[in-house]
Symmetry: none
DNA sequence: TAGCATTTTGCATGTTCCTGCGCTTTTTTG
DNA sequence: CAAAAAAGCGCAGGAACATGCAAAATGCTA
């Protein structure tokens, strides 16, 4: 095998997995680890990868402006992130639903935490594709424009074959008596199927979405495990939520 | 054997395998390694191949990293669109594969033509979401970063349940004898499943992708129905393609 | 066709580059 | 702090390379 050819294969493997160890490369390319080390050092000098002890990581590129054009998000929603990020552990499989708050979560996942992230929203898939430590599973199906996500039988069938550690969703409407609701039947169906597969469901959103209802109930309130909202929540609403055994995290208002 | 003739043979061998060593060439062409080295150096100067220690690699214009290409789109690829757009009829279900040429197609669909468009690329999904006359079906599965598309068993199973009128794909490598090829096994599997479900498969791409091969064959050449390429295609290549019964459309070079 | 210049080719030479091994040093991990 | 893993260093054999030169092939002109 030619040296230059081996360099190409190394970069290919690296882009594929986001990370690579010297030992793996030496084995798969059938050369000594010394040779691999020399390769990685050279490629590192050329700024084609990020050389680290034990192997290499993909070059962290700064966020292309391409993604900034997509929308003009509201940075105040970032305040919901911290409690959510603290729940994450290496190796988990999580769902990040569609919506602006969820998108912030996808964009701000810790760089050193390997995760499998499942989503039906193409915008979030794009955000996640830039993070080498994340494996991305895209839920297929008919695109449903109002929610910017896939819905329908195909989507539900695919969801049924995966088990999730945590599901993160934005709050559309939550009510202690009427549960977690949305405005569209198709969306409710697919969100219900998602929650069904999860060990733990976490909702994030401002307090004014609480004590509200919409036409279609996804699940009753007690199926939700954790709510992250901001200050301003009414005392009686807070009590009724906690009475259901739902963990409540309240972040400062913007 | 004439020098120019040998140069031609070297380039042919190179396109066929993507790589070639001086030793192999010296043996197969029955000349000394010194002569081969001189040949390779000259061809390297002419930018017809990538000269490396021990042999040569094919010149690769494409960047393996999809995100680099996104930031520098090449509008000249739009010239392939017109013949493709003329094939479309109202009510059809079509596939638009991933890739830059395909993305231009997705962005330039006629506004008055209702279509169902299927794709596994989230970028293309997003382009299509802005077009109200188009219903979008997203193919689910594991996201495969080098090709910016979904792959794997889930994707193939979902594809098997849909029938397509036309499949549009970019040419990665096409060879009359070795068929339609790509560099990755996962990609080949899902593209094969896609073509299997289609009445008609149309490839679009510049002429320098013809008479080339990559590691994995998707389908043999005769499974392709229509090729859209640009001027510059060699006469013998053109003949061999038409001999297979493949319709050929040649657009002006940029 | 003969004569001469140019190009191409193969060989011999010395040089550079690539690779694996043994060794020591540094880093990581429990 | 100790064991293990990874890295760095130098060396030697071999492969690939560049260079010079002479023989062979080719092209051009008289």
């Amino acid at each position: 095998m030619l040296l230059a050819e081996r360099h190409q294969l190394i970069l290919e493997q690296l882009n594929l997995h986001g990370r690579i160890t010297s030992v793996e490369l030496a084995k798969s390319l059938a050369v000594s680890e010394d040779t691999i080390r020399r390769d990685l050092n050279k490629l590192g000098e050329l700024k084609l990868l990020h050389r680290v002890h034990g192997g290499a990581l993909v070059m962290q590129e700064e966020t292309p402006d391409y993604f900034d054009r997509l929308n003009t998000p509201d940075p105040s929603k970032k305040r919901f992130l911290e409690p959510a990020l603290n729940m994450l552990e290496a190796g988990q499989t999580i769902v990040i639903d569609s919506g602006e708050t969820c998108r912030y979560l996808a964009q701000n996942l810790p760089a050193n935490l390997p995760l499998t992230v499942v989503t039906g929203c193409p915008l979030i898939v794009q955000d996640l594709m830039q993070q080498p430590q994340v494996q991305v599973i895209q839920i297929g199906g008919k695109m449903f424009k109002p929610a910017m996500r896939t819905v329908g039988h195909s989507a539900i069938e695919m969801l049924k074959q995966i088990r999730f550690d945590i599901v993160f969703m934005g709050i559309c409407a939550f009510h202690a008596k009427h549960g977690f609701c949305v405005s569209y039947l198709e969306e409710a169906e697919v969100l219900r199927a998602t929650i069904e597969q999860a060990d733990r469901t976490v909702l994030m959103g401002p307090h004014d979405k609480l004590d509200k209802t919409k036409t279609y109930q996804i699940v009753p309130a007690h199926k939700i495990n954790h709510l992250i909202t901001d200050k301003g929540i009414r005392q009686d609403v807070q009590s009724s939520i906690q009475a259901l055994g739902i963990e409540l995290t309240i972040v400062p208002s913007n």
